[in-house]
């Protein structure tokens, strides 16, 4: 399996020379490279069936700080995606973060056996097979999912720890409104309870306003069926809502007339209505993924500062970057289309002079909401200033990274 770069380079050179000398001429049989040059090397059957990444690419997920995954009972709880290694706006499906309402096992569900029921306050309760669901008009949309536990702390070292519980995929499925219409929602039906088929039967309450607006029953993720850890064969997407609402292994939607205080709802309860609203939907958020904690900037020179931005309220409008700890801001370039409730990669050229500095990014969404700094949040809520401010609702403050003169990068919150 040894590669012979010299031979290959020789072949390429020869080819180029040939093309140059006899442009347009038909290559003679004699000039064709011998058989051995064409035979691929080290291609296993596995690589043909389902491609693996290069052995030089070793980026991997890891349990989020705190409760172990797997824990004492073999349950997985929170597993962070390596944002520091991500290239572009889409998270590879195999690296998508994983979180569960309760610690959970990954259920093995045969899609042929799986059923999805809509019942409750509807005129026509219905049960669908996966095949039937796929016959409905489909939509494909990019959306991020982010766990309510994605909360940066001073003790976190890397961006995988501070922000790794969010990922972005293209999801394909049926709009829930399409299916609800088939069932005929009764006027008393103001909420839904969406429930999974895994051992804990995790369920969440979602307002009918959301269910009819953009909720999706997804069976596809990034061009293939959902990953088991992402809810195979069917999951709910409530775009922009925090992770617990994105019910996996979806087996039923019950139309009801009130908030149901499911175990999921109970687990994320708040004592104030305003805070409860801020704990449901993500505000504008962004983070720099290069350079980020634990990485090293090689030395003075040109780099692209890179990161991701998103909002649960709509699309990202602008991202700005500060290279002086928040004193001045420059517009970053958005690397691709900005979809509603989706990550978008951003970047900005940076000529590092080798001096200590602090990098930050700030996102503004199409609702005009701006990602706050930690002191701004503290001021708004009259919280005592300090490093460990617990942001009310979901955590979306500007995240600082400190660059030392030797190029090492550390958490600027610390």
């Amino acid at each position: 399996m040894k590669s012979k770069p010299t031979n290959r380079r020789g072949f390429l050179k020869g080819g180029a020379a040939l093309a140059g000398l006899a442009a347009g001429a038909v290559q003679s049989v004699k000039a064709q490279p011998p058989d051995t040059f064409l035979r691929p090397r080290g291609t296993s059957k596995e690589q043909i069936a389902y491609g693996e990444r290069s052995k030089y690419v070793t980026s991997k997920r890891e349990p989020a700080p705190g409760r172990a995954s797997p824990d004492a009972f073999g349950l997985a709880f929170h597993i962070g995606t390596p944002l520091q290694d991500q290239i572009g706006s889409v998270t590879p499906s195999a690296l998508h973060y994983v979180a569960t309402h309760r610690g959970a096992f990954v259920p093995e569900i045969d899609p042929k056996e799986h059923r999805f029921m809509i019942h409750g306050m509807v005129d026509r309760p219905l049960v669908f097979t996966m095949d039937e669901l796929m016959r409905f008009p489909s939509v494909s949309r990019f959306h991020f999912i982010e766990c309510a536990g994605n909360r940066a702390r001073t003790t976190h070292k890397t961006v995988q720890q501070t922000h790794g519980l969010t990922s972005n995929s293209e999801w394909t499925g049926v709009l829930l409104s399409t299916l609800l219409k088939e069932c005929g929602v009764q006027s008393a039906g103001t909420w839904i309870v969406a429930e999974g088929a895994e051992e804990v039967k995790g369920n969440s309450s979602i307002p009918m306003t959301k269910a009819l607006d953009d909720c999706m029953i997804a069976y596809g993720q990034n061009g293939e069926p959902l990953r088991p850890q992402q809810g195979f064969p069917l999951r709910l997407l409530a775009p922009g809502y925090e992770g617990i609402f994105q019910v996996k292994h979806l087996r039923r939607v019950k139309v009801v007339d009130r908030y149901y205080w499911t175990y999921n709802d109970y687990g994320h309860r708040r004592s104030e209505a305003r805070e409860a609203a801020l704990a449901t939907v993500w505000g504008p958020k962004s983070v720099i993924t290069f350079p980020s904690g634990g990485q090293k900037v090689a030395g003075p020179g040109i780099y692209e500062i890179r990161g991701l931005a998103w909002s649960g309220q709509g699309a990202v409008k602008t991202v700005e970057i500060s290279m002086d700890g928040g004193k001045s801001w420059k517009a970053a370039q958005l690397k691709g289309p900005t979809y509603k409730m989706a990550h978008v990669a951003f970047g900005l050229q940076w000529n590092w002079d080798g001096k200590e500095c602090e990098l930050q990014s700030r996102c503004t969404d199409d609702q005009g909401s701006i990602q706050p700094s930690l002191p701004q949040v503290a001021k708004y809520w009259n919280l005592p200033a300090g490093k460990e401010i617990r942001v009310k609702g979901l955590d979306n403050p500007i995240h600082p990274w400190k660059i030392a003169s030797d190029g090492s990068v550390t958490n600027g919150m610390a």
Binding site: E195, W261, T262, H268, S271, A276, V281
Partner: protein, 204 residues
């Protein structure tokens, strides 16, 4: 109802008149038994989906051991590998305190993002406890408890949490009527509206 406004655009486009019949005519109608079997989500206030049955704290005390709860949650409901279910003597009972004041005696098993919880005391409504134990416990043998057993275990945990008296019988009528001490800690979110800020006036 704010959500009905949403239907207006559909109606105008003529895509659907909400009251009309189905468009795609796929799926089958489930039988009443099929719905009943799957319908384990309990209305927290009325408890209308609660099945018939009953139980007391005395029965629950025995079931807590025989059903394996004690093995994971500790002989007395604390000190095991699984989360604390009963506040040990000497610690605050939780009355008037937030959930963060309750020590979690199983390290690393904090419940939710509110810190250590104590369901049988902190749930806003008693059917919430019934619903969870019925659907999710005992771990690895979920869904095996009978309604009577769930009523009894819930009665036991609430009695230990000083929410009900030892001799109170829990059933589909009494359970929803239990006054939980921490209703104020669980406020419902205002109804969400499409394309709007999370909280009107909140700049972030």
């Amino acid at each position: 109802m704010a959500w009905r406004k949403l239907l207006l655009p559909f109606a105008l486009l003529g895509v659907c008149a909400w009251a009309q019949g189905p468009t795609y005519k796929m799926g089958r109608t489930p039988s009443a038994d099929e719905v009943k079997a799957i319908d384990i989500a309990i209305n927290p206030v009325t408890g209308k989906e609660l099945p018939a049955g009953q139980g007391t704290a005395a029965e629950g005390t025995k079931l807590f051991v025989s059903k394996g709860c004690a093995g994971c949650h500790g002989a007395n409901g604390y000190g095991g590998r699984a989360p604390t279910l009963i506040v040990p003597k000497g610690f605050p009972t939780g009355a008037g305190k937030g959930p963060e004041k309750i020590p979690n005696l199983a390290p690393g098993m904090e419940m939710g993002i509110m810190g250590p919880g104590l369901m049988a005391v902190h749930a806003p409504y008693a059917p919430v406890i019934w619903d969870y134990i019925n659907r999710a416990m005992p771990l690895n043998r979920e869904g095996t408890l009978t309604p009577n057993e769930v009523y009894a275990i819930v009665a036991f945990l609430m009695w230990k949490g000083e929410v009900i008296k030892e001799d109170e019988v829990m059933d589909q009528n009494t359970l929803p009527k239990v006054k939980m001490p921490h209703l104020d800690m669980a406020t419902e979110s205002p109804i969400w509206k499409p394309s709007s800020k999370r909280v009107t006036g909140y700049p972030y």
